[in-house]
Symmetry: C2
Subunit: 147 residues, 2 copies
């Protein structure tokens, strides 16, 4: 069934062994292998927390790129590296997530980056909004003039 992704999204995970390995799926996409670290799992796939980092990095990356392009900036490459530091007691989610951008551009300035990042943080990155108040998110950016 087709759904309108602007209003609703779906995903499912299915256990594929007798431990904690799941196959994750959304219609029309390649399955994602998901597993837990040992000793409970076999570390044979993405952990749930790594998927959260991918979710946040791609979300903030998309917002930043969209606003930089609206400012007519030239962008020849973009990488977003995320590092999450876990709490030491349960629930062992992230206490702090570091999000580091590398943007290849001849004309983006740090001021431009700070401006669009603020838009993402305040309103346009829904994943960030869902973590707000629960996780500290610290960002950085390295602008590389030549690819």
């Amino acid at each position: 069934m087709e759904i309108d992704k602007t209003t609703e999204l779906r995903a499912s995970v299915k256990l594929v062994n007798d431990r904690l390995k799941f196959s994750g799926e959304v219609l029309n996409n390649n399955p994602v292998e998901i597993d837990y670290i040992s000793p409970l799992g076999d570390n044979d796939g993405y952990t749930s927390l790594e998927l959260l980092l991918l979710s946040l990095s791609s979300c903030v990356g998309s917002a930043v790129l969209t606003f930089l392009r609206r400012m007519q900036k030239e962008i020849s490459g973009c990488e977003v590296n995320a590092r999450g530091i876990r709490n030491t007691s349960h629930p062992t989610g992230f206490k702090t997530i570091y999000i580091d951008f590398v943007i290849n551009s001849s004309d983006v300035t740090m001021d431009d980056f700070d401006k669009v990042l603020k838009l993402a943080e305040d309103s346009y990155c829904p994943v960030w909004a869902m973590l707000k108040g629960n996780v500290e998110i610290i960002t950085g950016c390295n602008i590389v003039k030549h690819k």
Copy 2:
């Protein structure tokens, strides 16, 4: 470099076209194709919000299975289906996420499920903990006696 995933996790996404398609990666795993829906993206991969659903479903699924197994319950299958309803204004993250379990088991009862789900919600599902207060999460479970 090997990192201790009990304390720190890493992931990165890299722009792979001139729109909003990213390739997401964590060391030793197959890359995940990530894209935004049209008109900004081409809908050619998981959206950030779908990755968040995979993250939450696998996290709560792992916690529930772990505790049911500790109760010596027999489990022959498990599927977790997630459906997220987005806010209608920015930030358009999830207002409500529905998490529906299908557990194949000869001896798990709804009381068992409720008990282990509460453990997951209160302490042992880190992704749930990071969304708490920001997103309403509603769960359900269907226990299937024969696979």
